[in-house]
Amino acid sequence: MGAQLRVYKRRIRSVTATKKITKAMEMISASRIVKAQRAVAASTPYADELTRAVTAVATRSNAKHPLTTENPQAKTAAVLLITADRGLAGGYSTNAIKAALTLSERLRGEGKDVVTYIVGRKGVSYYTFRDFKVAESWTGFSDKPTYGDAKAVAADLIEAFTAETGGVDELHLISTKFESMLTQTAVEARLLPLKLDEVQLSDERPAKAEIFPLYDFEPSAEGVLDALLPRYVESRIYNALLQSAASEHAARRRAMKSATDNAGELIKSLTRLANSARQAEITQEISEIVGGANALADASRGSE
C-alpha cells in the first residue's frame, strides 16, 4: 500500500470514530430533551398557581412591599446568568453570555452598578478568564436542575436584595427559552421588583387579566406577600433553569447532528480520494511493468 493511500485510510478511521461519538451524543441529548420538557410541564401547575396568588395579593391589597415597589434611585442591579456546565452545545452558552453582556452594558448606561451571578461552568470560565467580577456562582446541575438547586440560587439572591446595606435594588435574569426543538432564544426578564403588568401565566396570558375574588388574607396581606414572594422568585428561577436545561439539550443535539453530518461528508470525500489514490497506484504499477517488459524486449532484440 502506498504512503498516500495509507494516510487517507488513517484519516477515514479517525473521522469514523469521531462520528460514532457525535452520533451517540446526539442520541443521548435527544432522549434528554424529552425528559427536560416533561420536567418543565410538571412544574407549570405550581408556577401558575403561585403566579395567580402573587397577582391576587398584589392587586387586591394596597400592601407596599419592598419586593414590589419600584426604587427610582436604583443603584445596583444583579444579573443572574444561566449557562451550561459542558460545551459542545453550539451557540447555547455564548448566546446567553452575549445577552448578559448587552444587558450589563445597558444597566451601566443607566448609571447602575452591575453584580453578576452565574449558573453553569461555561459562564463562570468566560467571566473569570476576562477578569470580570462574579459575585456568586453555582455549577454542576445545569443539565438536570432540581427545586433544591433553584432554592439555593434564589436564597442568595433574595438575601442580596433584602440586605439593609450594600444590597441590590434590581434583579435581572438571563435564561434560554425553549421555543421548539430548533429554536432556543436567550431572554432577559426582570424578576424584582415585580412588574405586575408583565407577570404571565405559562400560556403567556397576562395574569392580571383575571378577576380575583376578595380573599381573606391570613395572617395579613403583608404577611402572605412576605412568604409568597420568595417562593415566587424560587419558582421563576426553577422554571428558568428547567427551560435552559431543555434548551441546552436541544442545542447540543443540533450541534452534534451537524457534526455527525459533516463527518459523514468528510468520510465520503476521503473515500473518493483514497479510491483515486489506489487507482493511481495500480495504474502506475501497470505502466512500470509494461515499461519494464518493453525495456527487456528492446534489450533482447538488440543482442540478436
Partner: protein
C-alpha cells in the same frame, strides 16, 4: 352533597387532585378546615399534615412542608415546596431522618420527619 375541587401541587409535580368534602390543613394561625362554600381565603401553610376527605368517603393524608393554601370559587389549591402522600412516605427512612435530626438538634428537620411519620401512620390507622 356539596363538594370542592382540590389541587395539591408540589414545586415539581402535581401530587393529588380531585373532589373532596372537607380539607384540613395547618396554617400560620392554626389548623383550618375548609368546606365547600368557604369564603375566599389565601394563607400561609406551616409544615404539617394535610387531611383531605374525598367524596367517596376515603381519606387522603399528605405531609406538606411550607407553602400556601388558597380557596376561591369552590376550588382549593394547596401549593407546597415539598408534598408527599402518606403512602409514598418511606416510614423507615423517615424514622432514620428523625433519629438523625434529634441527634443533630436540627429542629426543622425533626419537625419534617415527625410530620412525615404522622402522615404515614395516620393513613394506616384509617385503613
Amino acid at each position: 352533597m356539596a363538594e370542592l375541587h382540590v389541587e395539591l401541587v408540589a414545586a415539581d409535580r402535581k401530587v393529588w387532585s380531585g373532589a373532596a368534602t372537607i380539607v384540613v390543613a395547618r396554617t400560620a394561625s392554626g389548623d383550618t378546615g375548609i368546606m365547600p362554600g368557604h369564603t375566599p381565603v389565601l394563607s400561609v401553610l406551616e409544615t404539617g399534615p394535610v387531611t383531605i376527605r374525598t367524596v367517596d368517603g376515603g381519606t387522603v393524608i399528605a405531609a406538606v412542608h411550607g407553602g400556601f393554601i388558597s380557596f376561591a370559587d369552590n376550588k382549593l389549591s394547596l401549593l407546597a415546596e415539598i408534598a408527599e402522600l402518606a403512602d409514598e412516605i418511606d416510614v423507615a427512612r423517615a424514622e432514620r431522618a428523625l433519629e438523625k435530626a434529634k441527634s443533630d438538634l436540627d429542629e426543622h428537620a425533626e419537625r419534617r420527619a415527625e410530620v412525615r411519620l404522622f402522615a404515614a401512620r395516620g393513613l394506616k390507622a384509617h385503613v
